[in-house]
């Protein structure tokens, strides 16, 4: 019932980008993929969702991706891309309804409105999507993805959210809001795989972390074991010092304490 990628190798043109990456995510958990720019995070996510062809074996809930029957995948998996370009003047609610109707809850129109409330876009239903700000667009897209796989567990099987930098263009309040949504989705039995840049949010909300570096897995496992001084410093090519917040018991990292090497 998990997402498993074994020995994923991706080359675009002649250029090798991922070299034998092993990846496994379980339902009920938030699994963050972190790593420096160009380390292959988006490429890994796109390989896992079947956007690009990859060597190796990729399965979702024991099924391998089948390009001929995409609607089956659509009912158990929502994918939020890093950026979305909309080519016709749809309104926000129309975009969210597209997601809703792509999933198994098409007969419950109130879900679209609830999803917009969840991402803090209540009252934006009738606005044109193309006239929203960048962060608002990203949240509207998240509402679309959420309403597609609204129930974290459907017919006894977990549903999945694949999110590429869901909070990159959001303000801090909405960053927390969206991460809490992801957390709740996992707590209710769904699986969340998110590409993240913010290591503090990752430490706060993720269960598992995969650290990518130059197209290879530098480390994978629980937050405390991956977000360590040595591993991060090596991956990000600067000396980083990780701290522990005394009250919450969560890892945190201050850029002020980093030293350029």
């Amino acid at each position: 019932m998990s997402v498993i990628g074994t020995n994923i190798t991706v080359s675009i043109g002649r250029k090798p980008i991922l070299h034998g990456v092993n990846f496994a995510a379980e339902p009920g958990e938030v699994h963050a993929i972190v790593g420096p720019n160009g380390s292959g995070k988006t490429t890994l996510l796109r390989a896992l969702t079947g956007d690009i062809s990859a060597n190796g074996r990729i399965t979702l809930s024991d099924r391998s991706f089948d390009r001929k029957r995409p609607w089956e995948m659509a009912s158990i998996r929502g994918v939020l891309p890093q950026v979305t370009v909309l080519s016709f003047p749809f309104t926000v609610i129309e975009v969210v309804r597209m997601g809703l109707e792509a999933g198994p809850h098409g007969a419950s129109p109130e879900i679209a409105h609830q999803a917009l409330r969840d991402v803090g876009l209540e009252g934006y239903e009738g606005r044109f999507f193309q006239e929203l700000s960048g962060g608002e667009q990203q949240r509207a897209q998240l509402a679309r993805v959420l309403s597609q796989v609204w129930e974290p567990v459907q017919d006894g099987a977990p549903c999945w959210l694949f999110l590429d930098e869901p909070v990159a263009s959001l303000d801090i309040g909405h960053q927390l809001g969206v991460m809490e949504l992801a957390r709740r989705y996992a707590d209710r039995g769904g699986g969340v795989i998110a590409v993240m840049h913010d290591l503090n949010l990752t430490a706060m909300f993720a269960d598992q972390v995969t650290l990518l570096s130059k197209g290879e897995v530098a480390a994978t496992g629980e937050v405390a074991n991956v977000l360590t001084d040595d591993l991060l410093s090596a991956a990000y090519a600067c000396t980083l010092r990780v701290n522990m917040a005394p009250s919450a018991g969560k890892t945190f990292l201050l850029p002020q304490t980093a030293a350029r090497s």
Partner: protein, 354 residues
């Protein structure tokens, strides 16, 4: 201080679009009656129709004008208008771009090349083939021409699931030029009788409408219009990009193949019977998107109806404005449509950066 006004469309544009759908059906009825009863023999037709309603008898002269001239022309106008508008809307959905129009980006020219090839080379085909194809030879050839050029255009202008507007328009110009050049060569090869056929065909009007033309173009156009709604949901998804469409369950390859075939069917059939009539495919979907939004589930059927209405009206203008002579309908649609095309172009700030 200026009060801040934000324009918000009504939240339920879908219901509005279905109301418009009903209105368009009523309009089609009125426009059809109007078109039957104006023009050279208009008064006679009107009187004849009145008498028919009153006494249940239709005199022979009126019957001839009505059923051998007026009605086939009306039906052909409705079919061609619907075909042009639907193929425009489909192509715009497929290319994710409101400026894509079969007539503008070389698909019409490709279909034209197909038709010309059929007229000039067709006679040299084996006799059994000519007999088997009959009147369908020209529409079928136009269909293949349109299909080929749509395929080429899509391959050239779409990379990694994104379509570049600039490349599409430029490739369209190149395709149209190439198709035009080859057509020119074929015209040189044509003999006198073929030249006469070509001239009649190339007039770009509904003037030569006959029941035979209706029957040859009708099935192709009907297939296109009836299959279009099945692709509506996919085209909606496609407006978010190819990858996202797949993640929303759209069978991408099947959708693309279907849309390209539909565009080729509708354009090919329309070009085969009426030459090239431009701008209907751009103006109609654009007006509908402004009025009731871009949802293809309502856009496609409404485009068929509005396209039919507009083309029949344009035909009425072309028949009456310089009567007793007739203005080619392509000129009427261009005069009405070209300014709207420019307006779309100017309203989109960055055509280059898409």
């Amino acid at each position: 201080m200026v009060a801040e006004t934000t324009f918000a469309p009504p939240t339920d544009r879908g219901a509005q679009a279905w109301r418009l759908h009903v209105v368009l059906w009523v309009l089609i009825l009125f426009v059809s009656l109007f078109s039957l009863s104006i023009g050279a023999a208009g008064a006679q037709v009107r009187a004849g129709l009145m008498a028919w309603i009153a006494t249940d008898k239709l005199d022979a002269a009126t019957r001839l004008i009505l059923f051998d001239i007026r009605v086939p022309r009306l039906v052909l106008g409705l079919l061609v208008g619907a075909a042009l508008a639907v193929s425009g809307a489909m192509m715009q959905g497929l290319f994710r771009n409101p400026l894509a129009d079969p007539g503008l980006v070389g698909v019409g020219a490709g279909a034209g090349l197909g038709a010309i090839t059929a007229i000039v080379i067709g006679a040299t085909l084996p006799a059994f083939l000519i007999n088997a194809l009959g009147n369908y030879m020209i529409p079928l050839a136009a269909f293949f021409g349109g299909w080929g050029s749509t395929l080429i255009l899509y391959r050239v202008s779409t990379r990694n699931g994104r379509t570049s507007v600039a490349t599409m328009l430029l490739a369209g110009i190149a395709l149209a030029a190439l198709a035009g050049a080859v057509s020119g060569i074929l015209v040189y090869m044509a003999d006198d009788r073929q030249l006469r056929d070509l001239t009649f065909w190339g007039l770009g009007s509904l003037a030569g409408a006959t029941w035979i033309k209706v029957l040859t173009a009708g099935p192709l156009i009907a297939v296109a219009i009836l299959s279009a709604p099945f692709m509506a949901r996919g085209l909606n998804g496609l407006s978010l990009g190819e990858a996202t469409a797949v993640h929303m369950g759209v069978p991408l390859e099947r959708l693309k193949t279907g849309a390209i075939l539909t565009v080729a069917c509708a354009t090919g059939a329309a070009v085969a019977v009426s030459g090239g009539i431009g701008f209907v495919g751009i103006v109609v979907p654009h007006l509908l998107r402004l009025a009731t939004g871009p949802d293809h589930r309502t856009l496609l059927p409404n485009a068929a109806l509005l396209g039919a209405i507009l083309l029949v009206l344009a035909d009425c203008i072309s028949r009456t404005i310089i009567a007793p002579a007739e203005l080619p309908i392509g000129i009427v649609t261009a005069v009405l449509g070209a300014p709207i095309f420019l307006w779309i172009l100017l309203r989109r700030r960055g055509v280059v950066d898409l």
